[in-house]
Amino acid sequence: MDPENQGRIKSTVERYGTDDLVVVLGAADLEGLEMVAETVTEGDPSYVGPLAGVQLGLPVVHIFEDDLREQVDPAIYDERIGFVELAVDSDAVKATMKKLRGEE
């Protein structure tokens, strides 16, 4: 993850704390997903950014996941997400998210 974005996340955590913070991802690139999820939980795997060695342990979910989708206005979801979801392998994304959270 871009070091500048790592810095913004670190500042956001310092400002709001971790109790109510959730990271919602939108990537369909599986390697990218893993990298981002690891960065906001275990720390920057490349050890170059501000989150190197910083275990934030933030909860990580994906906008494609049913649990989230059910809470979103369906019209907005279809307008903003629907066409992307059809164009990518959303099942692989969901499976990757479960694996990253140790749910399978």
């Binding site: 959730v22 991802l25 369909a28 690139d29 979103v72 992307v84």
Partner: protein, 42 residues
């Protein structure tokens, strides 16, 4: 996970769902979006 009242960091991807699109969606679920970013992995 119940999004209502949560503070959300929306991290999108340029070639998939953008951070802005994530933010628009989670706001309808009652979440407070505190950071929006769209990454590029390539």
């Amino acid at each position: 996970m119940d999004l209502k009242g949560k503070k959300v960091i929306a991290l999108g991807e340029r070639d998939s769902v953008s951070g802005e699109a994530i933010a628009d969606c989670v706001r309808t679920a009652g979440a407070d979006v505190v950071m929006i970013e769209t990454e590029c992995f390539v």
